[in-house]
Amino acid sequence: MSYHFGRGWSKLTPYLLLLPGLFFYFLISLGPSIATFFFSFTDATGIKGAPVNWIGFDNYREFLFMGRASIDNLDALKRTLIFSFVVTTVQFALGLLVALIVNQKLKFTNIFRTIYFMPVILGVVIQGLMWSLFLYPLGGPMAKLLALFGMRSEFLGGQPAEAFAWVIFVQIWANMGITMMIFIAGLQTIPVELYEAARIDGANAWQVFKNVTWPLLTPSVNTNLLLNAIGSLQAWQLFLVLLGYRNGTQVLGYLIYATGFGQTSGSVTSTFRQGYAAAASIVLFLLVLVIGMTLQTFLQRREKRILG
């Protein structure tokens, strides 16, 4: 058997070349994850030089079972699931619809693709600022629109349910472009001959979509569903930028950030609780793991059934 890197010590070359990458993977990704797991059993504050004591499952007990705060945490967990479900399904459906439209051989499709993708490149802060201005309740464009119908709203600063719904909307608006691009890439791999054959057989548009496009889009469907589900379960930045720490709007990701960095009390002298936040992170990790693995197993089986 020929081996590109030769024999003897030379066999080590590819492994040595992998080492820098592995080093950074451990340093930046796996290492902190393991450290987070470890810190979740401590009272770490995140302050250099502060003592770190092993406290067993106290953080988990407090997060899941202690007083009313644990019920608030479970509410945040439920809100995370609602957020993820709505974002995943709506973003997926809209992304597919838009991809199907802009994949047609029509005029200006490239311009429309760019327009739909543009929010993705803006960054969370810009996205948040744009929508804060758009939803400014004191004469912003949306307030003026509502005023035409004799209505008004505080939008992001009003009822928690409404504010939460706006974050879902902005999240979908901000990320739909990625979903669309993945679908466009998938659509362009489908051979034109299959469409031609289907039409010769007399298939209508719906039958073409159902029997040609949808099955052959399976890899893109799987990628999008997984990315949307995992991304939305971990979302927190838009909550920070659009709402800040407000009762009745937190999702688990934002709760972790706010707890870890002492932003839950509204006081500028609050406490750093990174051990506790680490325990909350592990709860979120387990949630993502269970949902992600279940979804992946289901999608892989489906892919095998459809594509063989």
């Binding site: 030089g49 600063g157 960095f261």
Partner: protein, 446 residues
């Protein structure tokens, strides 16, 4: 041969990467043991962190410029962060040895003996981790009022921060022109405040505004309501922890009923969208009759509209005018130095020059603080407005309050829980919810 070269090259890549990753940045200057802020021996970059407060930032930029002109060997690199992020940024930059001088709020929220299982506040955590420099004995500390140093910058007998001033947050700015135009009496009681708002609303003028987008400005304006009912706020906190005071007792219910009127009827529609920094400008535009908020807003109001005629009164939370002659507030910004700073001389020199009476006076004039240097004067307009009741200054509830672990998210006396900002429409229901959330925490730490 080529195989050997590839091995050597790959090893070089590995070691170069490891070395690059493990290297530490060179310190900007060597550490010196010279005390009392002597000039550093070589060029240094002094890293300063402050929170966002436009008049203060403007003053600091001007001060930094003069400081650099006097000391060309020192370059000041000042970072500005949102007040909500100050503690996080301080912690991370102190931990990374990436800061020399930092803005730190007056030491508050200390854990009291009756508070069970409570975690220490962040300033205490930073001191116990050895990240803040002991400033005891520095000459410039003597420039400040001994009580302010003791109350707002001392821990375990050592000075870790010099506090730069107190602020009042239980007051209301009012538009003098509108009050005269509509012949409205400046309110000294709750009922007069309600009447004033009714007159302005009838004239289609919003009664009050606030920077509700930042959350806390909605409730901070209502501290006067809390203060009128519980003037001794340290005792209030102890009473809540020990169960002697409840948020749903008859006395507290009076506060909740008034808070609902404040949130629902007094605050202008759309206030939740106004950013904290934008609220003074909104008030100074003359469109709104009143603006409940802290004394730190005064310079921003003056900057937005220099000719605008305004006054500042204690929030009249009670129907007895005598109960409304108090200011509630806190120790605001202070200076601390990172214990591990490589620029110790420059950092001490910076605080020494800042603390010189002339510079300090210019600072309080710019930001409107109540001075903590005994020689400084209340020269500002806001100072003149505050002066009549200054003897009745009291530290406010949020400076004492530490929530018990396990308490729910509503365990605070915030007006923003009421509609349109929150979900509650019934004061009794909210009072019960707040007490229930607090009690859950108290029971959990028994």
């Amino acid at each position: 041969m080529s195989k050997k070269i590839s091995i050597v090259l790959s090893l070089m890549v590995v070691f170069a990467t490891l070395l690059a990753a493990c290297g530490t940045p060179q310190a900007t200057a060597t550490e010196s043991a010279q005390p009392q802020g002597e000039k550093p021996a070589q060029k240094v970059t002094l890293r300063v962190l402050v929170h966002q407060n436009p008049p203060m930032v403007a003053f600091m930029e001007s001060f930094n410029k003069q400081f650099q002109e006097r000391h060309p060997e020192i370059t000041v690199d000042m970072s500005v962060v949102n007040a909500n992020d100050l503690s996080t940024v301080s912690q991370t930059r102190l931990s990374a040895n990436d800061i020399d001088v930092l803005d730190i709020f007056g030491f508050a929220n200390a854990v009291q003996p009756y508070m069970k299982q409570a975690d220490p506040p962040n300033w205490q955590q930073l001191i116990e981790a050895g990240l803040l420099m002991d400033l005891t004995g520095q000459d410039f500390v003597q420039n400040y009022d001994a009580n302010a140093i003791k109350d707002a910058g001392t821990y375990n007998g050592k000075v870790y921060a010099v506090n730069l001033g107190r602020v009042v947050y239980s007051g209301i700015y009012y538009n003098k022109k509108l009050f005269e135009q509509y012949n409205v009496k400046v309110p000294t009681t709750w009922q007069e405040l309600v009447t004033a708002c009714e007159i302005f609303k009838a004239a289609n003028i919003p009664c009050m505004t606030a920077g509700g987008k930042d959350g806390w400005p909605i409730f901070v304006g209502a501290y006067g309501l809390l203060g009128a009912i519980y003037p001794d706020q340290a005792a209030l906190v102890e009473g809540l922890w020990t169960g002697k005071i409840k948020w749903n007792d008859e006395k507290s219910l009076e506060m909740w009923r008034k808070m609902q009127v404040y949130a629902r009827d007094m605050m202008e529609e759309g206030a939740s969208g106004i950013a904290g920094d934008a609220a003074p400008g909104r008030f100074a535009s003359g469109a709104v009759a009143m603006f409940p908020g802290g004394s730190w807003y005064a310079p921003a109001i003056e900057a937005a509209q220099p000719d605008f005629d305004w006054g500042y009164i204690p929030f009249p939370g009670s129907d007895n005018p005598e109960d409304n002659k108090y200011w509630f507030g806190k120790y605001d910004q202070g200076w601390a130095i990172a214990a591990n700073t490589p620029n110790k001389d420059a950092a001490l020199l910076y605080l020494k020059e800042f603390s010189e009476p002339a510079n300090y006076q210019a600072f309080v004039d710019a930001v409107g603080f109540i001075p903590t240097q005994p020689t400084a004067k209340l020269n500002t307009k806001i100072g003149a407005e505050i002066a009549p009741y200054l003897a009745n200054f009291r530290v406010g509830y949020e400076q004492y309050w530490v929530a018990p672990k396990g308490a729910g998210q509503y365990a605070n006396p915030w007006a923003s829980y009421f509609k349109p900002f929150g979900t509650f429409d019934d004061p009794v229901e909210l009072a019960n919810k707040v007490q229930e959330d607090l009690q859950a925490g108290l029971d959990a730490v028994k």
